[in-house]
Symmetry: C2
Subunit: 350 residues, 2 copies
Amino acid sequence: MRKRRSTQADVAALAHVSPAIVSLVINGHMDGNVRISAQTRQRVWDAIRELGYVANPVARKLAGSQNRLLGVFTYQAIFPLEYHDFYYPFLIGIEEEAQAQDYDLLLFTRPTTNGKRSIYKEGINSLQMADGALLLGVYQGPDEITQLMQEGYPFVYVGRRDIPGMNIPYVAADYVAATVQVVEYMHSLGHRRIAYLSKQDRIPYEAHYDRQSGYLLAHQRLEMVLDERLLIACDLEAITPALLQQYLSLGVTALLFEDISYAHKLLNVTKQMGMSVPHDLSFALLGDPLNETQHLTGMTGFSIPRREMGKEAVHLLINLLQGNNSLKGQQLTLPCTFMKGNTVMPPTHL
Amino acid sequence: MRKRRSTQADVAALAHVSPAIVSLVINGHMDGNVRISAQTRQRVWDAIRELGYVANPVARKLAGSQNRLLGVFTYQAIFPLEYHDFYYPFLIGIEEEAQAQDYDLLLFTRPTTNGKRSIYKEGINSLQMADGALLLGVYQGPDEITQLMQEGYPFVYVGRRDIPGMNIPYVAADYVAATVQVVEYMHSLGHRRIAYLSKQDRIPYEAHYDRQSGYLLAHQRLEMVLDERLLIACDLEAITPALLQQYLSLGVTALLFEDISYAHKLLNVTKQMGMSVPHDLSFALLGDPLNETQHLTGMTGFSIPRREMGKEAVHLLINLLQGNNSLKGQQLTLPCTFMKGNTVMPPTHL
DNA sequence: CTGAAAGCGCTTACAG
DNA sequence: CTGAAAGCGCTTACAG
């Protein structure tokens, strides 16, 4: 049995003023030419207290025509166990900045099309519920994003998204520079033949291209010979002693990969071959070793400024909402931090 | 340049019907005497699609219906680094069940009173934006919860909350039984004098009382002598070799505490005293050792079914929203799982 | 079967 | 300095 809440009108009646006055008093609008006598104020506050009046935030938002709601959308569950350590810092940053800027967060968790999440449900943009949205996580191809852009819905992608002809707002990590740094580090220790393993059959996407660019760029800068055979597209299962042997015979002394699962697999395979890491072969992850690798601490790689990225994405989105549409600054790239680790040492088999 | 969001009126105009019809079509009200021709429906849906119309949840809520939004409220940040491992499983459960039941999640992150979060801001219940809410985390005393109950706002607390005269819906972990189990385990190994250290100056709260009840209950069941001197209220700083020595001289062979920080402190102190755990003194945590204790793996304690609790809380809340107000089943207590660990062994100093 | 209207509880110009 | 009114975008009786 919910008792009816008292409303602004009740207060107004009790205080013998119009509802508008109540609103003004509550919101402290004593600015400009709106001036309300101290006496009236007092009457209003007394009435409010007597009735235990509390403004209805929903009505408030409707009248104010903005709901201070920022959407957060991911194609998969936002809180999956597998990506625990990966997503978390983004969320920390997002929450921090949302709180600082006085926005609430709307998490889109409702399945839309046949049990899966998608932005558009029967052609309708379900994000509309929020003022704007942050998109993060797995990339599903450009379709929905393109539509979102065309529609003019304000959003920011966490991670670089590049669709030709479009200026997609994003906050990304600088994988190019970070990769260059890893290669340079290896080079400085004496490595000259560095192989780069990557997944074969995934949707090609920006984060991969950027690392590859970094790899190429570093070779150019360091005047290392670029051997295309060292750019290896192979899935996890394809990694065998035979394969590895083949690359070793090409003079490879160090390995680069994008996913931590490769480290585990490679560790197994090298062990089978009687080799030890990094003594016989150096490794580096072109990504964040995180803490998840309990069996593999001290991996050489780089840390991704995920928390910062979350904060900046919120910041950028709010700018967008406020109509700061200058194309400049809609795309932000933050630097990664090189992590020396202990899986790289000078090559011994030269 | 944001184009204006299209509204129900726009759709109505395009479809050549009245706004009311649009509302009825969207909400699928084909029940009762409201019958709308398939043709009209089609026109409405076409218009909706063409305009990309999505109902404004705020307006919807104001007009008196639900918007399939479940609030999540915590007094502190939801995603703090310190409570990373603690909160996460709750959120996983909450998201899972929300998704399964087709609800979105609204995270309240807006600071309300002077930079801090509170449910009521100047008397305003900010949770109103959502159909109902899940409350979790640190307890701030009964005030706001009492108000929430009186107001009739639907919510479920994750964790037991007991306010005299009120039937607060919650989903809790069974700390009583779990504590009994820990004491029984110690007893079975030969411990007869088990001290219980707890913080001194915190707000007394249910989770603490429940553990204490378990401690007392176990003593009763096992016919152990209850020595009140073994119920020790002391803060972390108060733990010194002198203090510990004092309890050892009372014949204490095992220690219980509620917070992992006590384990670290006690480990230091015992080390100073030249004792080793568990050989000279057994330890158990009346809580979840989690994984956070990298320096302290294998702590004896119990795991809290956090993910399940999250799921059940959502389930219960939705029940409440649907008007299932039977008092029964509004309070759910889930069992914990004893974790044997390796910080308890038979007492040697007898 | 469908339309016109009132109302949800606020805020914000706009008049006095 | 204060009041009357329109409007935010919906839903739900109530008439036809």
